[in-house]
């Protein structure tokens, strides 16, 4: 590992930050799937489930946003 410069290490670390997208995408897919299931089972409450779904997906995005902030600070 002699040839690895500090800048290259920074770029590798920034690339590793994108791994957090994996968890965020999984969470969002699961959440929206479950919400659609609930709406399909009981279409009358879709007006109450839909805003909660949007809220939840915004919350699930958060971990990816933290990783973005870390990548920007580096």
């Amino acid at each position: 590992m002699e040839g690895l410069s500090p800048e290259a290490a920074i770029y590798i670390a920034k690339g590793m930050c994108t791994l957090s997208m994996f968890g965020s995408a999984l969470a969002e897919g699961y959440l929206i799937g479950k919400a659609l299931e609930a709406i399909g089972r009981n279409p009358e409450v879709s007006g109450r489930i839909f805003p909660m779904m949007i809220l939840g997906s915004a919350l699930a995005e958060t971990s990816a946003i933290y990783a973005l902030v870390v990548a920007l600070i580096m």
């Binding site: 915004a58 946003i65 920007l72």
Partner: protein, 273 residues
């Protein structure tokens, strides 16, 4: 020759000083914060002057829709109409302020006003100080509300549970060790309060800053049609994150206000009907 692409520097994390008032440096995020505040005031005073019950203006209908949706969201959080009316004023003002300051820089030409080479306005929420100060305010307010509803010593006792350890050991050894575990959990709650501040502020800041960085990246690919899609996304994200911030602060304040007598009020409404 390269007219399809515009390369700009990636926006900085900190905001720049525009001018000084006395010794106080005024940054460009401060100016846009005050612009948002002034706009909210102007809207509100205009609305108060032209308030009608029957011949509604369009802007009044627009604000009524916003207020109705905020009250509806608060009802889902608190399950209690009285309490959601109590929380409404603070939550709605946080929501309106963040909504305006997130989307205020979409006004064309606003960010191109320069004073000595420094932009006069910048999206206020892409400065970490703005979101951090509002998050600190919300968490401190929830602490104060908790002290007011439970009393000072009961509030401190939620975090440092000496009394419960004492009572647990008085009962039996097993209960005492359970109480010690609860004591450590209570100490972790103190860290949890700080984590609330960090997560509330970083979420909003990160989302809005990511929007700005994405805009620069897209402009360096194709600067003609693609940015308009991103502007639409910025509108959506701005409204959504303002909603997330205000709903989460409503949740914290609702937790701090303690148990609501929801079942009691429901019983009362059934009896009255």
């Amino acid at each position: 020759m390269n007219f399809l692409q515009i390369t700009q520097p990636i926006p900085e994390l900190y905001s720049n000083v525009v001018f000084h008032i006395g010794r106080l440096p005024v940054t460009n995020s401060m100016t846009s914060t005050w612009l948002a505040i002034v706009l909210v005031f102007v809207f509100v005073f205009f609305l108060r002057k032209h308030l009608h019950i029957f011949s509604k203006s369009k802007i009044q209908t627009c604000f009524e829709v916003i207020i109705e949706s905020v009250v509806g969201l608060l009802d889902q959080v608190t399950n209690n109409r009285e309490r959601s009316e109590k929380l409404f004023s603070i939550i709605a003002s946080i929501f309106l302020f963040f909504l305006l300051s997130n989307i205020i820089t979409l006004i064309p030409g606003l960010t191109s006003i320069n004073i000595n080479g420094v932009a006069l306005f910048r999206t206020a929420t892409t400065d970490f100080n703005t979101t951090l100060s509002l998050a600190v305010f919300v968490v401190f307010l929830s602490q104060l509300a908790s002290i007011r509803s439970y009393g000072f010593f009961a509030h401190i006792g939620e975090y440092v549970q000496f009394k419960k350890v004492f009572l647990g050991f008085k009962e039996s050894i097993g209960q005492g060790f359970l109480a010690i575990i609860n004591f450590i959990m209570g100490l972790l709650d103190i860290i949890g309060e700080f984590a609330k501040i960090i997560s509330l502020s970083l979420r909003l800041f990160g989302n809005m800053f990511a929007g700005e960085v994405l805009m620069v990246v897209i402009m360096s690919f194709l600067s003609f049609i693609a940015p308009s899609l991103l502007i639409a996304q910025t509108l959506l994200i701005g409204g959504l994150q303002a909603m997330v911030f205000s709903v989460l602060s409503a949740v914290y304040l609702n937790l701090a206000l303690g148990e609501n007598n929801d079942s009691e009020s429901q019983v009362n409404s059934i009896i009255n009907n």
